[in-house]
Symmetry: C2
Subunit: 155 residues, 2 copies
Amino acid sequence: MKRDGKLLIALHILAHLAVAPVRPLTSAALAVCLCTNPVVIRRALAGLREAGIVTSAKGHGGGWTVARPPATISLREVYVALGERIDLAPVRGSAGSGCLIEATVARALDGFSAEAEALLLRRLDTISLADLAAGFHQRLIEQTGSSHVMSAPAE
Amino acid sequence: MKRDGKLLIALHILAHLAVAPVRPLTSAALAVCLCTNPVVIRRALAGLREAGIVTSAKGHGGGWTVARPPATISLREVYVALGERIDLAPVRGSAGSGCLIEATVARALDGFSAEAEALLLRRLDTISLADLAAGFHQRLIEQTGSSHVMSAPAE
DNA sequence: CTTTCATGTAACTATCATTGTTACATGAAA
DNA sequence: TTTCATGTAACAATGATAGTTACATGAAAG
């Protein structure tokens, strides 16, 4: 089961950086880990660098490092930095159909999307990059009282 | 702002069907409403027909009708019938990278996705097609105590 | 029974986003 | 000065979705 998604890729890289030795990891080395291309790594990390989550250095001994202690970086921060969204009714063009029914449905779906995303953000906020690198099961059990994240929370 | 998404399209169609007169609506007529093609309409409704949400009839006077009273059809049912998913770490191939870190991250993201989707399903369950067709603001106010669905719920 | 209407479906094209690749410029350390 | 590694642009490859055309199927109207 090969997997995808910007967030998965970014967190995968960050987890490698978090457990890495002092030396920075190069895009080429990370590309091997992720079975992909160095340019893909750089593209994935560009936004995270602007957000102050990772730093990069050129030349000999250069590469990528986490900009702060992994315990101070939440998954929420990464999610936001990537610009990910839950959106059940995404905007597609600037045309505007003008249909009132469509607008009504879209507004409702936007609301539900926002609610679902708010919950997601709260969950992501409880997990740090350090938790992720450590396996983070303890943290999950603390938070939800269950090792199964699948269980629906009491809202 | 032209909008997209299977769920939006399906609900838009269903709302038109819910407010339609007794006569079935043809794919061609619906295509005009949605600024699209009759075949797109048929494709969008095929899954809903199998799920028993709409029925179709051929020939003269044929077209699409809701299979049950709109008040008995929840948005959740539509969402499920369409096979929509919130998935932060979708499966892409059968290769399997074998990286333990990736698997750990993916499992966590799956859990969060499932939680967010569970919340979404609970919300969709409270809205019926009839609510949608009527404007459904009253129903929303009843449920959440606010006319702004954007507000984060007390979990 | 033939015509007309409308769905059902396959096949193909177009469009768009993502990914992979190549190439080259920039900057830092050896 | 050479080598390493990022930064970025440009382009091809891939995959998903949407749009289109064409034709078969079935039902009602005449």
